[in-house]
Amino acid sequence: MVVYNFYLFDRVGTCLYYAEWCRRKKAGMANVEEYKLMYGMLFSIKSFITRISPVDLKDGFLCYSTSKYKLHFYETASGLKFVLNTDSGVPGNLRDTLHQIYSQIYVEHIVKNPMCSLGDPISSELFKSKLDEFVRALPVFSAKTS
């Protein structure tokens, strides 16, 4: 079980945070381009699945899997989008984990800190270390990856 990387977007599409633990292949474009691409994909896929859905949707987009990795997605009612890429062996989806990241790390260390402006990319060292600690402690995180 491997966790590859993590993205956090706000409601207007700004990438607030990106972290990677084990990325073996680069996207072949600048980081800024990659964030825009990721956000665009999320936006389009959410819209697409709602339109195509044959029944009324409650949660909408949860995750997508490929042969090599799985992308987990969680969006709050305030428009914050959490994305986590893990290997495809992870069963189900990690939305609960992403919700925990939201409530225990983002809300505690960014929202409650008046010095952290909400629309800007996160530069808080505390957030970085707490997130890193949290992800490394996840049962799905493999010890042998750096």
Binding site: A77, H99, S103, V107, E108, V111, K112, L118
Partner: protein, 142 residues
């Protein structure tokens, strides 16, 4: 700011009074600085707005609630979950407009106004205007 409560219930009661006193001190200082009731109302609303914008994230994280489907659900979420979570009170939702797009929240015992009496000279002051700002800020984010 969020310390674990090791001593039990008593410190919580003390901090409730501290909250009331702190709010009273803020309003009193604003009145000294701005002198006009209208201006103070505006400032309280702005302060509340800034609080609301962040408070909504805390609310969503703790309540785990998803989007409300209609305005009635919203009114219930604010009164029964939001106010309960942050102020420990449950205002009653009433006075629905015929179009269903306006309602009133009536608060019986508001912790912000414990021990407070408004003198006649400040009859235009909306003492709890910060709550209006908080609701406005919070709802704007969802």
């Amino acid at each position: 700011m969020s310390r674990p409560n090791v001593k039990g219930l008593d410190p919580k009661k003390v901090s409730g009074e501290l909250f009331t006193l702190t709010y009273g001190a803020i309003v009193a200082q604003l009145l000294k600085d701005y002198e006009s009731d209208e201006e103070v109302n505006k400032q309280l609303d702005r302060m509340g707005y800034n609080i609301g914008v962040r408070l909504i994230e805390d609310f969503l994280a703790r309540s785990g609630i998803s989007r409300c489907n209609d305005f009635r659900e919203t009114s219930d979420a604010i009164a029964k979950i939001g106010f309960k979570m942050f102020l420990g009170i449950t205002p009653s939702v009433s006075n629905w407009s015929p179009a269903g797009d306006e309602f009133s929240l009536q608060i019986e015992s508001n912790p912000l106004v414990d021990f407070v009496e408004l003198p006649d000279s400040h009859s235009n002051l909306s003492y709890c205007n910060i709550l209006c700002g908080v609701i406005r800020g919070a709802l704007e984010m969802v």
